[in-house]
Structure formats: structure tokens, C-alpha cells
């Protein structure tokens, strides 16, 4: 049984493009074509507007919360080719850093796992991906992967810090230093895995989609060696890419072919449920059963069966 528990009137004057809950699920940020980013305090099903951030000169596509250990920090990216990092200081939200080194719309922003420090990946329609890192001196340092995806990059998503081969070192109980990785998806129909090896290098090129890749999401893999990436595309398909954590090969499996373009895929915080939404006016939730099947658990028709003895 899926139910609507509350409705938020955002007050945006134009289409909403993204909404993100913070780490604790206590704050909600939204962004819109009206060029603003809004932040709400969410408590017991009610929301109060906490901030209205103005600074972009075009539609704001995506937003991302940094880990709370860095304070309250939000990144936003826009059609205006800019990435803005906002920070709350003494209850006031200020523009903390502005990055304007892309030649076209910036479509996606994603913070790296907090263990690495404050690092943001940004994917742009100019085909490049920028990686911004906060420096000890309080500044920002940018690295850029040019031509990551020809025509444009639509999505970036980081691998969890406790990735394959890098779980607990059982002898010492200390975590070995994991390798930084992220996945990207673009207009070249490709999904690519990137690894930091002093510079950023392309580790894997995943071919499977037959049209623009719209979103890619790296699953949290808590305590497991297996790694899973979900990608979705204008070819109406969602593909799950798995790696066993030992070999370098990726297996692909089509989760489902939908009725319309699939725009968005994302994993729950524990990685056990995948949410998919798109142009078919539907949101669906998927879960892998013990039988190894991916089933749509939001399908309301399942689970209805004749129950004896009850009217």
C-alpha cells in the first residue's frame, strides 16, 4: 500500500526540476525553471520555507546536499552554465563558491562520499565533467575531464567509499583507502565508469543503450562486494550493470522496458530498492527477490488474491 502522506506547495513560479531531502530527512531543497532554489524544514508532515536562494540566471536542473559533517551545504547547477555551492552560516544562506568553467548547461551535480572530503562532480552539456574539491586553505580546486561524453553528459553518480575490494580489513579493523570512482551517462548512449589514478581515467565503457542515457545511479553496497549501477535512457529501458567486485567485467541486465522515456533512476539509502520514473506518468519501485528476480513492488495488483473466510 503506497500512500501520499503530505503535499508541499513549493511556491515555485515554474516547473520543478529536482527535489532533494537532506541526510536526516529533515530538510527539503527544490529547484525550478524559475531560477530559484528553495529550502524547507520538514517536520511531522508540515513544511516551512527556510530559504529562497537566488543566483542562477537560468533554470536550475539539479541540487545536491553535502554530508552534514561539513555543515549545511547545497550545490546547484543550471542552464546558465554555472555551479553554485551554497552554505548556511549563522542561519543565513550565502553563495559559498561559484564555478563557471563550463561552456554549456550543467545538468548534474553529485557529492562524493564524505570520507573523501568535500568533492563535487558536475556533468555538462559541453561533454565535460568537472570535479571540484575543497582545499585545506578554504579554496576550491577544479579538475576537468574533457570530452567525457560527446554531445553532452547528463548524469554523474559516485561509487560508495566502501566499494568492492575495500571493505573492512579484518585484521586491523581499519578501512583500507578506497579508490575514488563515479559513473556518468551521456548523449553518446554510453555509461562510463571513471577512476581516480592521480588523474581521472576512464575505467569502463558500458554499451547497452540505444539512445541518450538520461540518468545513472551507483547503488550503495553496504557490506557487500558486489557493485550495481542502474542506468536509464530515452530508449525506454532501465539497465542494471553488475560487477562482482573481483573481475573488471560488467554484466548487463535489462530491468524493464517502459512505455515511455525513463528519465530518472535512484537507489534507497541502503540500496535495496530502486525507484524509476519517467514520461509514462508513473513511478515504480523495484526490488530483487531471493529468487534473483527484480520485481516491481509498487504494483498494486500484486498481492491481491482470494482471501478465504473474509468478506
Amino acid at each position: 500500500m503506497v500512500s501520499v502522506i503530505s503535499t508541499v506547495d513549493t511556491g515555485h513560479e515554474d516547473m520543478i526540476h529536482d527535489a532533494q531531502m537532506d541526510y536526516y530527512g529533515c530538510r527539503l531543497a527544490t529547484c525550478s525553471s524559475d531560477r530559484s532554489v528553495r529550502i524547507y524544514d520538514v517536520k511531522n508532515g508540515t513544511q516551512t520555507l527556510a530559504a529562497d536562494l537566488r543566483g542562477h540566471e537560468g533554470p536550475v536542473w539539479q541540487i545536491a546536499w553535502a554530508h552534514p559533517k561539513f555543515g549545511n551545504i547545497l550545490a546547484s547547477c543550471s542552464y546558465d552554465r554555472k555551479v553554485i555551492i551554497w552554505k548556511e552560516i549563522n542561519g543565513q544562506w550565502i553563495k559559498f563558491y561559484e564555478y563557471a568553467n563550463h561552456d554549456s548547461s550543467v545538468n548534474s551535480v553529485c557529492w562524493a562520499p564524505h570520507d573523501y572530503g568535500l568533492i563535487l562532480a558536475c556533468g555538462s552539456s559541453d561533454g565535460s565533467i568537472s570535479i571540484l574539491s575543497a582545499t585545506a586553505a578554504g579554496g576550491w580546486e577544479a579538475k576537468k575531464i574533457n570530452n567525457a561524453h560527446t554531445i553532452g553528459c547528463n548524469a554523474v553518480s559516485w561509487a560508495p567509499a566502501i566499494g568492492p575490494n575495500a571493505a573492512f580489513d579484518s585484521s586491523s579493523g581499519v578501512r583500507s583507502t578506497p579508490v575514488k570512482r563515479f559513473v556518468s551517462g551521456g548523449c553518446d548512449n554510453l555509461v562510463k565508469v571513471w577512476r581516480e589514478d592521480k588523474e581521472w581515467v576512464e575505467e569502463a565503457k558500458l554499451e547497452g543503450h540505444s539512445d541518450w542515457v538520461r540518468d545513472a545511479a551507483w547503488a550503495p553496497s553496504i557490506g557487500l562486494s558486489r557493485t550495481v549501477i542502474a542506468s536509464c535512457s530515452q530508449d525506454r529501458r532501465v539497465i542494471l550493470w553488475t560487477n562482482d567486485g573481483v573481475s573488471s567485467s560488467w554484466n548487463q541486465r535489462v530491468l524493464h522496458t517502459f512505455e515511455d522515456v525513463v528519465w530518472h533512476v535512484s537507489w534507497s539509502v541502503t540500496g535495496n530498492i530502486l525507484a524509476v520514473s519517467g514520461g509514462d506518468n508513473k513511478v515504480s519501485l523495484w526490488k530483487e527477490t531471493v529468487e534473483g528476480q527484480w520485481v516491481c513492488i509498487s504494483d498494486v495488483n500484486r498481492g491481491k488474491g482470494s482471501a478465504p473466510g473474509q468478506q
Binding site: M1, V2, M21, L224, T270, I297, G305
Partner: protein
């Protein structure tokens, strides 16, 4: 097949594109959007820009179901504790636990049904009834699993019949209705009720019903009565062995058939049908097909009259045949598929089916655990039974973590996930918002017990930051020390120093003076502690020690540079004493710092927290003067000694 998840809002009618993002736990934020990233951006103007928070698996959060969650947790932990003490739990103990779980489910169903009756709106009633139905089905499947996997008796049918009796009370209800009518034998359901009783082998009741018929004294009725009375019954506690029973059964059946042939029941079609049913005749069952609500009910009844001693292992094949003949396998509901899987003893399918349906994580977790301990959970090529159990326990725990209060129960289930439990717990605990020290201390206590140090540090850090935001500097220092968070400790110590500059008085002295080794959490905090000590020494008129400490604070560079001016001003009164407390070397040290300070302030644009930290020309003059006077005094003193 894929339904949009129940949002009825006009915004979605005009816009087919849906965006979403995850909230905490079983929550999703859903909104109509436009993904086109082309240059034309004029969206259809729309009056409201709404977002919807949707949630699922909320059944467990219902107040009545929460009782089940907590009570069954006790039963679950009891099994695990017993296992911790003994290598294996006996099957009879597991059956006991299984009974306990079913009792808990039944109590919950009863509570829900009562609540449904009291609900104020139809929708509320319906919602509660749906929940009740989920648990009803769960109990139905559970009970069958208990018979098939745990009890695993040699003679399975009596158990299955008992299961049918419990879950299909309508046979008795119908009889009640018939008996309550003014003229029972003419009631339209008289025979239906009678057959219903026979289907469930409630022979005594069937005979009672037969007796009240006005034709009871006729030969046909008497013959039927005799046969019913003589019918051998293979019951759960039957003293008969299977071959013995079969012998008697065949004998009795032959008699029935011969009486039918002899035309004993020729006068009454209804009796004739009854006797044909007793003989297990397929055509007879066809005639009463509508009297069965479900295929399995019919299967069990029919087997009772055809293969009363059938073994559990043949049930799967029988069930397949029944389904193939009567309903087919298409459009099989999830419940039917699950029951079929249980009869086939296809455990993975049973759990897989239940798992695919929302709101069943309670069921799959507890059942899988029980079956695992009974050795009935098979391993498969790609996943072993332990992992299987763990996956299900974890899913249930994650679901509990989505609730404000039930997360505590979730912790206990993750404790029994040997491979991923600890990592999952770590992940989930750091995301629990903590609004009070009470909750923080509970989280810390449970994390410490499980050696999740990163959770302890994380909670302390967050509490420290909150304390800082709340202006509670002392508490912030205390949390920072606990987390061994040097940056936070420094930040808090700076804040204490800043407040000192403002008020000329220390805040949180009770805490600062009791920190002890905790002061070592950061250099700034250590400085703060030492600076407090300087004040103490000074006010105790121990000027020599105070002076030495002051010098060491500057020369060791433990003092932040912004504070040097304050320290130099603090030195002023000590410089004026006679005989001098600063030695000539110490005075030189101070002079050097003064010089360093005056020169560095020009090029270093470090922000100054308070005007007192500013070294203006008046102050510089004052200090220079005092320093040189002190130096002079030192020389005089030295020459005096010489």
C-alpha cells in the same frame, strides 16, 4: 502492469513526466516535472507547483500492528538466545515458537477487526480491513508452512483438514444459520450446510443435522446415518497405523458403494449425492464445486475421501493436477501461487512470492528465520540459506528504521545479520536525527556495545555542532572532546575566548576546569585551559608562576596569534611589579613577540575577533615602556646580586 503510485492530483494529468527523489527510509518525494533540456524552456504555466511525499510499507506503523512488531521481536530474540546457548533448537521448540508467532498474528487481526468496526469513516474502515486481510493471509500461509515444514507428519491430511477447519469457519456458521431458522430442513441451505460439515469431516455435527430431518427414520436416512457413524477417521492422534486404517477404510468404502448400488438412497437425491461424496466420486464433487471457496479447500476434501493417507511429498503433484484441471495456472493470484509453492515445498518460491508484495517484510523475515533454524531453508547455487535469511531480516530491519520509534527494534534484527548487519546498522544509525541528548546517549550506548566507533564519533560531532549553534560553548567543548574532534574543539575554544574578550569573564568554567586530559583534544583547547590556569595563578597572587606560564604560552606558540596582544596586555601589571617577576630573558622574549606582532599585523590580514586583539600604537607604546622599565629593574636586581 506498472501502476502509477496512487497520486490523484490534477498536476499529474497535465504533465506526464514525473520526477522523484528519496526521503528518509520508505519515503519518496514525487513531483511533476519537465525534463527537456533544450533551449525552449517555457513550461506550461501552472498555478500550483506541488510536491508529494509518498510512503509505503506503513502497515507496520499502525498502532495495533506495532504491538505485533514489538511482541514478535521478543519471540524472535528468544529463539536466537536459545540458539546462542544450545547448538540446535529442537523441532518441537520451533513449533512452539511458530504457534507463538501465529498467536501474535491472530491477536493483531482481532485488534484490527475491532478497530475497523469502530473506525469513523468508510475509508478508514476499509484501510484497516485491508491490513487485517494482509495478516489473515500471512497467518494462512504461515500455518500451512508450519504443517508442511515443521510438523512434517506422516499422515498429513488430518493436519491440512484442521487447517481448513480453522480458516473456513463458514461450514459451522452456515449450520448455525440453518439451525436457527424456524424449519431447518426446508432451509435452502440445509443440504449445503450438511455437505460443508462432511467436507471438513465434522461427522458428529453432520449426524446431528441429519437427525433433525423429518425423514430421519426412513430407511435411506438410517442407512446413511449408519455409514456415517461407522466411517473410520484418520485423525491427528489416531491410534491406528496407516495400513490398519487403509484396510478398514477400504472395507467401509466397499460397503458404501454396495449400498449405493443396492439403491438404498434412491428416494433422496440429496442423500445419494452425500454418499457419492463419501465415496470420493469425481462427478459428485463436480456437482458441489460451487460449495468450495478455493481450489485447495476442494483438493484437501477430495483427497480426504480418495487418498486419506497421502504423504506430504505427493501433495505438490496433487496440487499441480488440481490446479491444472480446475483453474489453470494463468491469473494465479499471489496467494494461490504462494500456497501452491508451500505444497510443493518450494521454499524459495514461497518467500519470493511474499517478498514481491509490499507490507510483507515482517512475514518473510520471521518465517525465513524459523525455517532456517528448522533446516528447511534450502541453499541455492547463487545464495546460501544463511544469506537468504540475512537478506530478509535486513529488509525488515530497514523498514523498521523508516519509523520514528520502531528503529530500536530494527537494531535487534540487524544484530542477527552476520555479514552485512553491522555495516547496515552503521549506515542507518548515523542518519537518525537526534533532537535530544537522551536520544544521542542511547545511540552512543548501542553503538559502543557494537563497537561502531564511527557512529559514536559522528553522533558526538553532530551534537557538538548543535551545541555550538545553540550557543552552548561548554557543551560543545564536551562533545568535541568526546568525539576527539580537533577542529570542533578549536572552534568551540575560539568561541569561548571570543566571549571572554567581550565579557572579560569566562563562560563554562565548571566544565573547562574539570576537563583534565580532555584539554588535549586540540591545541586551542589546551591553550584555553592553560590561559584559565594563568588567571587562577594570578588571582592567587602567585605572580612568578603566572609570569612563567604566560611566557611559555607565547614562546611555545600554543597561543593563537590573534590572542598575543591580549597576553601582552595581561603581562602589563606583572611588568610593573617590584621586584620584577619576569627575568631579563623572559622580558626579551616578550619584546620579540611584540616586534613580531607589530610587523606581522601589517602584512597579515587575519581577521580579528575583538578590538582587544588589536595592537594599536597606544598599547604598543604602553607595553614597550613597561618592558623596558622591567628590563631596567632586572639589571638593577642582577647587579645587586653581583
Amino acid at each position: 502492469m506498472l501502476e502509477p503510485i496512487g497520486i490523484l492530483d490534477s498536476t499529474f494529468i497535465h504533465n506526464k513526466n514525473i520526477g522523484h527523489s528519496w526521503g528518509y527510509g520508505n519515503n519518496l518525494v514525487v513531483f511533476p516535472t519537465k525534463f527537456s533540456q533544450s533551449t525552449t524552456l517555457a513550461g506550461v504555466p501552472c498555478s500550483r507547483k506541488n510536491l508529494f511525499m509518498i510512503s509505503w510499507e506503513r502497515t507496520l506503523y499502525n498502532p495495533f500492528v506495532r504491538k505485533l512488531v514489538n511482541e514478535s521481536c521478543g519471540a524472535f530474540i528468544a529463539i536466537q538466545t536459545r540458539l546462542g546457548k544450545e547448538a540446535q533448537v529442537s523441532v518441537s521448540e520451533l513449533v512452539q515458537s511458530s504457534h507463538q508467532y501465529r498467536c501474535i498474528i491472530n491477536a493483531c487481526i482481532e485488534d484490527l477487526n475491532q478497530a475497523a468496526d469502530l473506525a469513523e469513516t468508510n475509508e478508514a474502515t476499509q484501510a484497516i480491513q485491508e491490513m487485517s486481510e494482509i495478516f489473515y493471509k500471512a497467518e494462512l500461509v504461515w500455518n500451512l508452512c508450519e504443517i508442511m515444514y515443521l510438523e512434517n507428519p506422516l499422515g498429513i491430511l488430518p493436519h491440512l483438514l484442521e487447517w481448513v477447519r480453522i480458516h473456513f469457519p463458514n461450514a459451522l456458521e452456515e449450520t448455525g444459520t440453518v439451525l436457527a431458522s424456524p424449519n431447518p430442513e426446508f432451509h435452502e441451505s440445509y443440504w449445503k450446510a450438511l455437505y460443508g460439515l462432511v467436507f471438513q469431516l465434522r461427522i458428529d455435527s453432520a449426524i446431528k443435522l441429519l437427525r433433525i430431518h423429518s425423514g430421519f427414520q426412513t430407511d435411506a436416512f438410517q442407512s446413511a446415518f449408519e455409514l456415517l457413524k461407522k466411517m473410520p477417521v484418520f485423525s491427528v492422534n489416531s491410534p491406528l497405523s496407516a495400513p490398519e486404517f487403509t484396510f478398514r477404510w477400504n472395507h467401509w468404502k466397499e460397503e458404501c458403494e454396495s449400498r449405493i448400488h443396492a439403491g438404498d438412497f434412491f428416494d433422496s437425491q440429496d442423500l445419494q449425492l452425500l454418499m457419492e461424496i463419501l465415496c470420493g466420486k469425481e462427478e459428485a464433487f463436480e456437482k458441489v464445486a460451487d460449495f468450495f471457496e478455493t481450489w485447495y479447500q476442494r483438493m484437501i476434501t477430495q483427497l480426504t475421501f480418495t487418498h486419506p493417507t497421502i504423504s506430504a511429498s505427493s501433495l505438490g503433484d496433487q496440487a499441480d493436477q488440481f490446479l491444472a484441471a480446475f483453474t489453470g495456472f494463468d491469473d494465479l493470484s499471489s496467494l494461490d501461487a504462494t500456497l501452491l509453492a508451500v505444497l510443493r515445498r518450494d521454499t524459495r518460491k514461497v518467500i519470493g512470492e511474499m517478498q514481491g508484495v509490499l507490507d510483507n517484510s515482517w512475514f518473510t523475515a520471521h518465517l525465513a528465520d524459523l525455517l532456517y533454524h528448522a533446516g528447511a531453508l534450502q541453499s541455492f547455487e547463487d545464495i546460501n540459506s544463511l544469506q537468504l535469511r540475512e537478506t530478509l531480516l535486513r529488509d525488515y530491519a530497514i523498514c523498521l528504521f523508516s519509523h520514528q520509534s520502531l528503529w530500536s527494534v530494527g537494531v535487534l534484527y540487524l544484530d542477527h545479520c552476520p555479514t552485512v548487519g553491522s555495516a547496515t546498522l552503521e549506515h542507518l544509525l548515523t542518519r537518525l536525527p537526534c533532537q535530544s541528548e537522551l536520544k544521542a546517549s542511547k545511540l552512543i550506548a548501542l553503538a559502543e556495545r557494537r563497537k561502531l566507533t564511527s557512529v559514536v564519533t559522528s553522533v558526538c560531532r553532530v551534537m557538538g555542532r548543535n551545541a555550538l549553534k545553540n550557543g552552548r560553548l561548554g557543551a560543545a567543548v564536551a562533545w568535541a572532546v568526546r568525539a576527539q574532534d580537533a577542529p570542533l574543539a578549536t572552534y568551540a575554544a575560539d568561541a569561548v575566548l571570543e566571549r571572554y574578550l567581550q565579557d572579560s569573564d569566562f563562560t563554562s568554567t565548571d566544565l573547562l576546569d574539570s576537563l583534565g586530559a580532555g584539554l588535549l583534544a586540540s591545541d586551542r583547547l589546551a591553550f584555553l585551559g592553560k590561559y584559565r590556569e594563568f588567571h587562577r595563578l594570578y588571582s592567587a597572587n602567585d605572580f612568578h608562576s603566572a609570569a612563567t606560564l604566560l611566557i611559555s604560552l607565547i614562546s611555545s606558540r600554543i597561543a593563537p596569534k590573534y590572542f598575543w596582544a591580549v597576553l601582552l596586555m595581561d603581562a602589563l601589571p606583572l611588568l610593573e611589579t617590584n621586584p620584577p617577576v619576569f627575568t631579563s630573558d623572559q622580558t626579551y622574549e616578550l619584546m620579540q613577540s611584540l616586534q613580531e606582532l607589530t610587523s606581522s599585523f601589517q602584512d597579515d590580514a587575519e581577521p580579528i575577533p575583538h578590538p582587544n586583539c588589536q595592537l594599536n600604537s597606544d598599547k604598543t607604546m604602553l607595553i614597550t615602556l613597561a618592558l623596558s622599565r622591567n628590563l631596567a629593574k632586572c639589571f638593577v636586581q642582577q647587579t645587586g646580586y653581583d
